[in-house]
């Protein structure tokens, strides 16, 4: 699988796709959607679609792409090669969501959470297939959030397409399983061949499963935490695992908008420091107050230095 | 000049993590 488009800048998200089989442009097709790498604290999340003519579902089943979750990395690789060779009737496309995109989306001021990100990735891929001329009739997808709401959303978005949202769709529908293999293989490659834009020298890539509760992953996170800069972009710094480690082991960093929208101690302290409106009326006592600096200096944030 | 306050004085791997651009 050629991930060079993603590797060129792995801080950004990227779409990769196979060619479109001619049969998919002329016959009614089914399309499966699945994801890989939702839970890990490292690496991208990949959304994948796989599509083929409805009439060729049996051929797909014969490729034995089912039960992808039970497969080893090598077995998935082998099945992907099978799918890739079946390019006369199977097409695929992937949306690789970089860990940086996931983190910044989740942390930006107007929050863009993981479910919304997932929905949009899936919708984007389906639209891509339609735009490429795939004659889409059926879409099968695993649940992301409440199944009925997701099904309604997709059905409204793609009228005329029969949408089926089911938990564990990858074990029910071979086309979803095929999508799952594409997504997982892409994620495996992306992580194994990760190019660190941070010049860290030889970086140990033995991070275990990448899941937050894996001791090997936790050890890797501890070893690769820079006290000032935090983590390399491989890490999803919006994950609570990463944030907790940063809070305990990295140096404190304060931003102008630290209190915005987060309530908490500083906001309530600020409220306590507010003067009563009544204090602005009435005669003020002569407090022997210090002479205020001239506005020339205050407007320019300049002040006298007492000591270095 | 950074738009944040870093509570630290000392070495930092600026060249490795920080890529200035005009």
């Amino acid at each position: 699988m050629d991930l060079s488009a993603f590797e060129a800048d792995n801080s950004r998200s990227c779409r990769l796709a196979s060619g479109i089989p001619e049969a998919c442009r002329t016959e009614a097709c089914c399309l499966g959607i699945d994801e890989a790498g939702r839970g890990p604290v490292l690496g991208p999340m990949v959304y994948g679609i796989c599509f083929c003519p409805v009439s060729m579902k049996q051929r797909l089943q014969d490729l034995k792409v089912a039960d992808s979750k039970t497969l080893s990395e090598e077995e998935r690789e082998r099945l992907f090669r099978k799918l890739d060779k079946a390019k006369d009737f199977v097409g695929w496309a992937l949306q690789v969501l970089s860990p940086n995109t996931i983190s910044t989306s989740m942390l930006q001021r107007v929050k863009y959470n993981l479910n919304a990100l997932s929905h949009d990735a899936a919708i984007g891929l389906v639209q891509y297939a339609l735009d490429c001329g795939v004659q889409l009739k059926e879409v099968y997808v695993d649940t992301v959030g409440p199944a009925d709401k997701y099904q309604d959303k997709l059905s409204q978005r793609f009228p005329g397409v029969e949408v089926t949202v089911r938990p564990k769709a990858d074990s029910l529908f071979p086309i979803v399983s095929a999508a799952s293999i594409c997504a997982k293989v892409a994620r495996d490659h992306a992580v194994k061949d990760w190019q660190f834009v941070e010049e860290l020298g030889e970086t140990e890539m033995q991070y275990g499963s990448g899941y937050p509760n894996d001791p090997k992953t936790k050890a890797w996170l501890s070893q690769h935490l820079d006290p000032v800069f935090g983590y390399p972009q491989l890490v999803r710094f919006s994950w609570s695992t990463a944030r907790t480690l940063l809070q305990s082991k990295a140096v404190p960093v304060h931003w102008d908008d630290d209190d915005d929208g987060e309530g908490g101690e500083k906001a309530s302290a600020a409220k306590q420091n507010c003067s009563s409106v009544l204090s602005y009326y009435g005669r003020k006592k002569n407090e022997g107050a210090k002479r205020l600096p001239h506005r020339y200096f205050t407007e320019r944030a300049l002040e006298t230095v007492g000591d270095l | 000049l950074l738009p944040c306050e870093v509570e630290h004085n000392g070495p930092a791997r600026v060249g490795q993590y920080f890529s200035p651009a005009v």
């Binding site: 230095v305 007492g306 | 000049l1 930092a12």
Partner: protein, 216 residues
């Protein structure tokens, strides 16, 4: 921290001829606040500079391969040493006596103040704020309010010129300092400039003198 980020004139950092003539930071009595403030004497005490800091919240520096918590940017600018010497003459002037200058410029809390007298400009300029007598080859000085006010007025006039040429907003309206008008703002009157300049000069003198200058 052992380093700071500073903008300073070349004259400050010009290589000194001897180690003992390197520029030095000193703490002296601020003529406005009476508290300690930081100043700098250039190599061989040729010139006095004041130290101001650009300071906003939430700043730090990357300097090479280090991070510096202190996010201030220091500005070092030349300053007339007479402003720092004047408070001592004001105080001594209450006695009404002529005194040698090295007996006037004395401060228990800031013994470095005597170094101001080594600045060539200081002794040359004393005549602007004092009356002078010479007896037996020795000079004696006594504070003169009239001379001081005249000297301060010249400072205000120069400041007005500088404000105009730098297009500084001195009017009552609030305007961003980065906002540049294409047309000259005719609403800013001469009085606004003088008021503003008086305020700036008052940053370097005691309150009573500032009030006297305002009347003058």
């Amino acid at each position: 921290a052992e380093q700071w980020v500073v903008i300073a004139p070349d004259s400050v950092v010009e290589a000194p001829k001897k180690a003992e003539t390197e520029p030095v930071f000193i703490r002296l009595r601020n003529p406005k606040t009476d508290e300690a403030s930081l100043y700098l004497l250039s190599n061989n005490t040729q010139q006095l500079y004041e130290v101001k800091a650009f300071k906003e919240e939430y700043h730090s520096w990357f300097i090479g391969q280090t991070v510096q918590h202190d996010g201030r940017l220091l500005f070092i600018t030349p300053m007339d040493p007479l402003f720092l010497v004047l408070p001592y003459f004001l105080k001594a002037g209450k006695e009404g006596k002529f005194q040698p200058v090295d007996q006037v410029v004395v401060d228990e809390d800031f013994p470095c103040c005597s170094r101001l007298l080594k600045c060539p400009k200081t002794l040359q300029a004393l005549c602007h704020i004092t009356e002078e007598k010479e007896i037996g080859g020795q000079k004696f000085n006594r504070y003169s309010k009239e001379k001081t006010l005249e000297w301060l007025k010249k400072k205000v006039d120069r400041t007005v010129k500088a404000l105009k040429s730098s297009n500084t907003c001195v009017g009552g309206a609030v305007k961003s300092s980065t906002f540049i008008r294409t047309k000259h703002n005719s609403e800013e009157k001469e009085e606004d400039y003088i008021r503003y300049a008086h305020g700036l000069i008052s940053e370097y003198i005691a309150e009573d003198l500032s009030l006297d200058l305002h009347k003058y």
